[in-house]
């Protein structure tokens, strides 16, 4: 049983690490904000879920496992909202260029 749990933890943590690294590469390589949001959701959904699941198997039925569950729920509820807000704000800023033009223009050209 012990060995089975350890093996399962290994598998989950390795899968989660794979997703985290893949998502980060996507965050770096994808072309624009909207597509990068997909990569971020990979990190926070699959990556965080699998890694926290693997850690929880190591913790067993303790307070720590409950805290890990809460962390997962917090990530699950807050991060999609945040990325949704990113997409919405970017959409609003892109559709109406004259809306706070003086704030948006330097943001687009600041790293030239």
């Amino acid at each position: 049983m012990e060995q089975f749990l350890t093996a399962a933890s290994w598998v989950f943590i390795c899968v989660g690490s794979f997703f985290v690294v893949t998502g980060a590469i996507g965050l770096l390589r994808l072309p624009d904000v909207y597509s990068r949001i997909h990569a971020v959701s990979l990190i926070e959904g699959a990556g965080a879920g699998f890694i926290l699941l693997g850690l929880g198997l190591q913790a067993g039925f303790t307070l720590i496992a409950v805290k890990l569950l809460f962390i997962f729920l917090v990530i699950l509820f807050t991060v999609p909202v945040a990325t949704h807000a990113v997409a919405q704000a970017a959409l609003v800023a892109g559709i109406e260029p004259q809306l706070d033009e003086d704030r948006r223009t330097p943001a687009k050209s600041d790293d030239v």
Partner: protein, 138 residues
């Protein structure tokens, strides 16, 4: 202007958890990381999130600006009164051993008491600074 429906619903869902977590940080300060300052900042952050999502008018109805400003000195007063019972029992100021029948319980009670004062001061000052900044920005 009800564009941000998702934000409103999720914020409503998560606000009680934030305040319960802040109280956990406060009452659990004897055993884990955190304390009054951190809990106060988390509570202030919760009200700031409410003000950002639901508007300043709604937030000012929940915590009016005079209340937030009165919280700042109130916390210091609460902290200072934690030492007064010790003076009555001829002990040093801020000695919590006299607060309960058992000295150890008195210590825990005293820590929770003074950290309640810290929470009120910190949360009140963060909130009133936020209100003042936003009011100034109009």
């Amino acid at each position: 202007m009800r564009l941000d429906l998702i934000l409103r619903i999720t914020t409503k869902l998560i606000l009680p958890f934030i305040i319960v977590f802040a109280l956990y940080v406060h009452f659990h300060a004897d055993f884990g990381p955190g304390g009054g300052f951190q809990a106060g900042v988390i509570i202030a952050g919760m009200f700031i999130l409410y003000a950002i999502i639901f508007g300043n008018f709604a937030a000012r109805q929940v915590v009016p600006q005079p209340v937030a400003e009165a919280m700042v000195p109130l916390g210091v007063i609460i902290f200072a009164t934690a030492g007064l019972p010790a003076l009555m029992f001829n002990e040093n100021y801020l000695n919590y051993n006299v607060l309960a029948s058992h000295p150890e319980h008195g210590q825990h009670l005293g820590l929770i008491w003074i950290e309640a004062g810290v929470i009120i001061t910190v949360a009140g000052s963060m909130l009133s600074i936020f209100y003042a900044l936003v009011e100034r920005g109009r």
